[in-house]
């Protein structure tokens, strides 16, 4: 190596380290601001997740995706079961997300009843579901019990969280809005339940064939762990396939799910094709989601079923 090249390498190394240091300083600064405001949110989905993980002490907890979020009415459960209630459901987040939330909660206290809204094909592999685990990154450092679930995202999460901004990636507007009172008024959140008021147009019931039949072992293991944790901690656990106007043609996933429940002595309630809902599109906001009226009817029927089962 010539002396000129060596000098250039030294110059480069010095400037590279300087810039790296400045980047780290800025990253810490911006990341800290984002963190402060993330955990100061008083409404919105981020707030809901934080509340579920850190604060709720409700007796009945609902887990699931949007179908849980919009389908379980608190007052009906509270009035019939005489238990406090919180709906942790979050749109577009399925088994792995719910598993993480449950793990964080069960480290704090033991709820009395857990209702997990599940559609059988949720146990299939979905790359998107793994990507969406990034929503749990703000809790990566503070909740070691969920780290291994977030690490499913990829082998480099441990390295990526060295950046203080990374856990809040793409959340800046959500954080901003979650800190505004305006959002509280805009999104009606009743103990985690977000009602949908619109009514779907009458359409044919949608049936579809799932093209990729690949069971995700991580999810099966998650479900097994949820079942065994519930048993150990004496928590009643019910899996519910809530009403929909979308049906899967083959029962590949449903068989696996119902077998898993029966093998472990866990309740699995399938209300997906209940005639009350199949014959009334007015109970739906769209093919996959109940509206507020439908949610009330469904919650009442489900509570009755649970009471009779127990």
């Amino acid at each position: 190596m010539t002396s000129s090249a060596f000098k250039q390498i030294l110059k480069f190394s010095y400037r590279f380290i300087l810039i790296l240091f400045l980047i780290l300083v800025c990253d810490r600064g911006v990341g800290t601001i984002l963190k402060i405001f993330y955990f100061r949110q008083e409404s919105g989905v981020g707030y809901k997740t934080t509340y579920a993980i850190d604060s709720t002490v409700a007796d009945v907890l609902i887990f699931g995706s949007s179908r849980a979020n919009h389908g379980y009415v608190p007052e009906i459960f509270e009035d019939s079961l005489h238990y406090s209630f919180y709906n942790t459901g979050r749109d577009g987040n399925y088994i792995l997300y719910n598993y993480a939330i449950l793990k964080a909660i069960s480290g704090r206290y033991n709820p009395k009843l857990i209702i997990m809204d599940i559609r059988p094909d949720d146990i299939g592999y979905s790359a998107t579901e793994y990507e969406r685990l990034s929503l749990l990154l703000p809790y990566y450092k503070t909740h070691p019990e969920i780290r291994n679930i977030i690490d499913y995202k990829g082998p480099f999460e441990k390295i990526k969280v060295v950046s203080a901004i990374y856990p809040y990636n793409s959340l800046i507007l959500q954080i901003l809005i979650g800190n505004l009172n305006y959002n509280k008024e805009r999104v009606s959140d009743n103990k985690g339940y977000v009602p949908i008021l619109k009514v779907m147009e009458k359409e044919k019931i949608d049936t579809f064939q799932i093209s990729l039949l690949t069971v995700d072992e991580n999810k099966i293991n998650a479900l097994k762990d949820i079942i065994s944790t519930s048993k150990q901690k004496n928590i009643d656990l019910v899996f519910v396939y809530s009403p929909a106007r979308t049906f899967i043609k083959d029962n590949f996933y449903e068989t696996i799910l119902s077998d898993l429940c029966s093998e472990n002595g866990t309740n699995y309630i399938d209300m997906s094709n209940h005639p009350v809902f199949i014959n009334n599109h007015l109970y739906f906001a769209d093919k996959d989601h109940l509206n507020n009226d439908g949610a009330k009817v469904f919650s009442t029927m489900l509570v009755n079923k649970i009471l009779h089962t127990n």
């Binding site: 190596m1 010539t2 000129s4 090249a5 250039q8 390498i9 110059k11 480069f12 300087l18 810039i19 400045l22 980047i23 800025c26 990253d27 911006v30 984002l34 990507e131 990034s134 995202k153 990829g154 082998p155 480099f156 390295i159 990526k160 950046s163 901004i165 990374y166 809040y168 990636n169 793409s170 800046i172 507007l173 959500q174």
Partner: protein
């Protein structure tokens, strides 16, 4: 190990550090090993295929060089057919055998094994094949001598920054650089890193953000109105530009770290004032390949065959242009993939260019009649807008899954109105921010050049602040778990 993965950055850093530590004479060996390692990180078995093509073409080129120019056309045709057959086999295998079952395995860096049950196109084979063909054609034309050093020849074809998605490097451009000794060059390395940074911004902040919206709309076109489909099509235009040019910037930047200059593929294509100008600015290494190896030879050959001045009252040169350009753009479409959508996309550009060529004199008369200056700002803006709209229309065919869907979308754009769909407002806002920043930078580079510059500012504080700002923006609003580059599939 795609460019937008963290492992690529580690890989690149290690390769670059060792490259400058090793003695200069073995630099090429190290780069070849790194290139092989890079390729193995995708689907290892295909490395044997590429190695086979390198080996065969090395000897074929030597053989071709020995044949006198007037007698070597047949040999070249055989070489072309051989290479094209290999490409076509993989590219169209699934269409010829739709029910095929293959048993391939993808092994990643952590030795996780993913089974692959359908035939897939070996990474970069289209770019690789076109690079090989340009090498062989140049040897046939006697513009270059065949490379004697098998190692340099292999590295010319396998060099990792360009293997997956080009640029399609001409031998005259890259091979001489392989023979040079590359000492550490501060300016070049810094330039490369800045280029990579801007490439990552385009990919992570612009392209992947737009992809979320475009995919949501185009994958459910029946549920969206015409307004939303127009917005999604505009977004797609910027998505594919940011995606591919972002990739190119990362490729060029990576190569610069080792002292190599690769061909730039993009020159602000949406500021083109005609379709011809657009193709001078879009995927330049591919468009010039098509021009030099298909369009011009074909036009030349047709000129020799068409002896009359006019055919059907139209001058022969216009017919020659039509035939040569349509054939060229049909090949351009087919190169991108199987299916009528790509072919239609290519032919549409052929039609645009033919129309432009055939009506050149007419528009000249119009301009003269109305005293419109070709250089006036208003006229330039008008031409840029028309060109953009025509390109936008063509992108519908490129993005749609089928011709029926493309026509359905076009029909809906003209017949169904309504408000713009936005499921996640932040996505839309970030997307618009990304597009605006891309447009501002392109306008600056096109019209103001170095007068206003952040990354290349004379003041080092401004430069450093600019670098940090871009990195922070990427971390705050970039899509950090985004997907593949669009042009990987070709």
């Amino acid at each position: 190990m795609v460019f937008n993965s963290i492992i690529y950055l580690f890989f690149l850093a290690i390769v670059a550090i060792l490259y400058y530590i090793f003695p200069r004479r073995i630099g090429w060996i190290w780069l070849l090993i790194a290139s092989i390692g890079y390729y193995i990180s995708f689907i290892p078995i295909f490395l044997f295929l590429l190695a086979g093509i390198v080996f065969i073409n090395y000897f074929l080129s030597k053989w071709l060089a020995k044949i006198p120019e007037e007698k070597n056309t047949g040999t070249l045709i055989l070489i072309i057919i051989l290479n094209i057959l290999i490409l076509a086999f993989f590219k169209y295998f699934n269409n010829i055998f739709p029910d095929n079952q293959v048993h391939l395995y993808n092994v990643d860096f952590f030795f996780r094994v993913d089974p692959i049950n359908k035939m897939i196109l070996p990474l970069g084979l289209s770019y690789f094949t076109f690079t090989v063909l340009s090498y062989q054609i140049e040897i046939k034309r006697k513009t270059i001598e065949p490379e004697k050093h098998f190692g340099y020849f292999s590295l010319y074809l396998l060099f990792f920054p360009k293997i997956a998605q080009g640029p399609i490097e001409r031998p005259q451009q890259l091979i001489p650089q392989l023979h040079q000794s590359h000492s550490f060059n501060y300016d070049m390395v810094v330039d490369g890193l800045k280029l990579m940074l801007w490439g990552y911004f385009k990919k992570l902040v612009v392209a992947d953000r737009l992809a979320i919206y475009v995919n949501a709309v185009y994958n459910n076109s029946e549920h969206h109105n015409g307004t939303t489909l127009i917005v999604a099509t505009i977004f797609f235009a910027f998505q594919i530009y940011a995606d591919f040019s972002g990739y190119t910037d990362i490729a060029l930047g990576s190569a610069k770290l080792f002292g190599f200059n690769l061909t730039n593929n993009f020159k602000r294509p949406y500021l083109a004032s005609s379709i011809q100008d657009f193709w001078n600015r879009w995927h330049i290494s591919f468009s010039t390949w098509l021009r030099d190896y298909i369009f011009l030879p074909l036009a030349y050959s047709l000129t020799n065959k068409m002896k009359k001045q006019k055919y059907l009252f139209v001058s022969a040169d216009k017919w020659i242009y039509l035939m040569a350009i349509m054939a060229t753009f049909a090949i351009c479409g087919i190169w991108h993939g199987v299916g009528w959508t790509y072919l239609t996309w290519g032919i549409l550009f052929g039609v645009y260019l033919t129309y432009s060529n055939w009506t050149k004199d007419f528009y000249k008369t119009i301009r003269k009649r109305f005293n419109i200056r070709k250089t006036s700002n208003f006229y330039t803006l008008y031409k840029i807008s028309i060109t953009f709209i025509l390109v936008l229309f063509a992108w519908i065919f490129f993005r749609a899954d089928s011709l029926n869907e493309a026509f359905y979308i076009i029909k809906k754009i003209f017949t169904s109105s309504g408000s713009v769909f936005y499921e996640i407002p932040s996505n839309l806002i970030f997307a618009v921010v990304g597009i605006i920043s891309l447009i501002i930078i392109d306008l600056k580079r096109e019209y103001f050049n170095d007068r206003i510059s952040v990354l290349y500012n004379k003041n080092p504080f401004v430069r450093i602040a600019g670098i940090i700002f871009i990195i922070i923006v990427i971390l705050v609003i970039g899509v950090l778990n985004g997907g593949q580059f669009i042009y990987f599939q070709f």
